[in-house]
């Protein structure tokens, strides 16, 4: 497997008042394999969104290097290669809407890349279908609900056919159904198109299905592994204001009360099974 994204001792500082700096990302080294589904979690201010913006050159590191398929994001001449490899979906879809009608909005990306018209039409159809919005192709985005807009924003990125998709808390504004739909789309893209996904989220439950879970705190990576391995560190996760998925929290609380339940359980069925044996 090829390496999609490589971070070499990456730091990023925001300038503050009177020459002070705020180090949002502090010496992060990571290698993300092509085709993996990575969940990245951390509380507000942990540096995860800054890290996301470093991945497609929206920000360039103040220390270290970010390589996207071997291309340095700090290389101005190649920034378009980086941007067409790594698609970004933000939290607030309003920031990502540009056209007055759905089709135009989705076509904006591929148009800018010089994709032929027939191919654009195919991609718009495909992208709309993927996010379950085909019936809205002639609607206007500004009249849509937040959830619909976010699916549209994702479709807009899909139409560029990036190799890596970064979702920066893109599910935060959706209702449970919308969230499921978006997650299903993203998982399917990961599975079928082998798209590398980096999903930044607050929902621990969304991190459960990831291949790899990276936890950030204070600008650094503090945990990195399979979700079940990471959630076993529930004390650390609570300390850094994150907590664990609901099922794990239940298991942990019961186990601490003295009931013999494995505190590392992440799966609901498994919890039900072990409770049935005890009760």
């Amino acid at each position: 497997m090829a390496t999609a994204i490589k971070l070499e001792n990456v730091s990023f500082s925001y300038p503050m008042n009177e020459g002070e700096e705020h180090k949002a990302v502090n010496g992060v080294s990571l290698e993300i394999e092509e085709g993996t589904f990575v969940a990245l979690v951390g509380h507000n201010g942990s540096g995860k969104s800054t890290l996301a913006k470093l991945l497609n050159g929206l920000l360039t590191p103040t220390g270290g290097r970010v390589l996207v398929y071997g291309v340095d994001t700090a290389d101005d001449k190649k920034i378009f290669d980086v941007r067409s490899s790594v698609g970004m979906v933000f939290q607030n879809p309003d920031n990502q809407m540009i056209a007055t009608n759905v089709e135009d909005d989705i076509a904006f990306g591929p148009e800018n890349l010089g994709v032929p018209r027939e191919e654009i039409i195919r991609r718009v159809d495909w992208a709309l279908e993927k996010v379950g919005m085909s019936e809205f192709r002639n609607a206007t985005p500004f009249k849509m609900s937040g959830g619909q807009k976010q699916r549209l924003a994702i479709a807009g990125i899909l139409a560029i056919k990036p190799r890596v998709m970064v979702l920066d808390e893109s599910t935060a504004m959706l209702d449970p159904k919308g969230r499921d739909e978006v997650m299903n789309v993203v998982k399917q893209l990961n599975r079928e198109e082998k798209m590398t996904v980096i999903h930044i989220t607050h929902y621990m439950d969304e991190a459960l299905d990831a291949d790899r879970l990276i936890v950030m705190n204070d600008g650094k990576v503090v945990l990195d592994g399979k979700p079940s391995e990471v959630f076993a560190e529930h004390k650390l996760l609570t300390k850094i204001k994150l907590g664990v998925p609901c099922v794990t929290q239940l298991a942990v609380t019961l186990s601490e009360a003295g009931i013999a339940v494995d505190p590392r359980i992440t799966d609901e069925e498994e919890l039900v099974d072990s409770l049935c044996r005890l009760l």
Partner: protein, 319 residues
């Protein structure tokens, strides 16, 4: 005192190709002191409904009576609207986007000033509101809202509403976009505000697990109508119907169902995770009389506390 809504209808872009009936004959009574949760999937009409409660949408048909302020269609009711907005405080989704002044104190003062209160009263209310939302007044009053963390900004925005001392507080998705810790803080804050400031609270949320933490009554909107209006413990007996309109049932309800289906006897109504925990521990103690465990355990991972001291430094939120 009550809020009574009769036959409320609302149509967006009427008589155009985009015409959409957002509310179709809504009838509701909300009592003073209610802790009301409103759920419904996107586009179900719940936001359109609450916008009416403080007069942000002009009534098209129907009647609204909010604590004896009466709204009817086609009435020029400017003075009523003014009173209404002092009675019903509305905290929108992502309220921190509305912060605009250069200091926190000025921002919070905007509402009460517009109500025509004198400077002394405004200053008093600003201080109290900032303290009520759990922030340190002296520390934060002269800071720029933009240098605060996401959670702090949201509290400042809520303080701006609280400063008007509304009798009814409406919050639209108050925890959206916050991390688990920030969520916990805001949820505790809402309970605190209900006790200290606004006795009637209405919260819109997508997250049923969250809503089980506080609301005593839940209204479910679907397709512009009230689908259910029930006490919380009764609502989740309608799991299949809720699921069919795109709503989840709380995890605790789901897990309790599974356990009961497999023969585990759990006592009482289980809605929240704490209910579930207590029922499990009780069932366990019944079966293991020789080695019982403490029944006094709680689910919550975080506790509500004043976070100024520790949060003041990470003044950036790139959410």
């Amino acid at each position: 005192m009550q809020i009574v809504v009769k036959d409320l209808n609302y149509t967006y872009s009427a008589r155009t190709p985009f015409e959409r009936h957002a509310l179709k004959g809504v009838n509701l009574t909300i009592n003073e002191g209610d802790f009301l949760g409103i759920i419904g999937h996107t586009g179900s009409g719940k936001s359109t409904f609450i916008m009416h409660l403080n007069g942000l949408y002009k009534l098209q048909s129907g009647e609204i009576d909010v604590f004896d302020i009466k709204l009817v269609p086609d009435k020029k009711n400017k003075s009523d609207l003014r009173r209404l907005r002092g009675t019903v405080g509305m905290v929108f989704q992502y309220p921190e986007y509305q912060l605009f002044e250069d200091t926190v104190a000025k921002d919070v003062a905007f509402g009460p000033k517009n109500m025509g209160l004198d400077d002394e009263e405004v200053a008093k209310r600003v201080k109290r509101a900032i303290e009520l939302v759990g922030l340190d007044y002296e520390d934060i009053k002269d800071r720029a809202p933009f240098e605060l963390s996401g959670g702090q900004k949201r509290r400042v925005a809520i303080a701006g509403i609280i400063a008007m001392q509304p009798k009814v507080l409406i919050l639209d998705e108050p925890t959206a976009g916050l991390d688990p810790y920030g969520k916990e803080q805001i949820l505790s804050l809402i309970t605190h505000l209900k006790k200290e400031c606004s006795p009637t609270v209405i919260v819109i949320s997508h997250d049923v697990d969250e809503i089980t933490r506080f609301a005593s009554r839940i209204i479910v909107f679907n397709d512009g109508k009230v689908m259910f209006d029930l006490p919380m413990n009764e609502l989740f007996r309608h799991a299949d119907e809720l699921h069919s309109v795109g709503l989840e049932i709380p995890k605790a309800v789901r897990i309790a169902d599974k356990l009961r289906k497999r023969g585990v006897e759990l006592e009482g109504d289980i809605v929240s995770l704490n209910d579930l925990l207590h029922a499990i521990v009780k069932a366990y103690n019944k079966k293991h009389i020789d080695k019982t465990v403490n029944e006094n355990i709680n689910f919550s991972a975080f506790e509500f506390k004043n976070e100024v001291a520790e949060d003041g430094k990470d003044g950036e939120d790139k959410g």
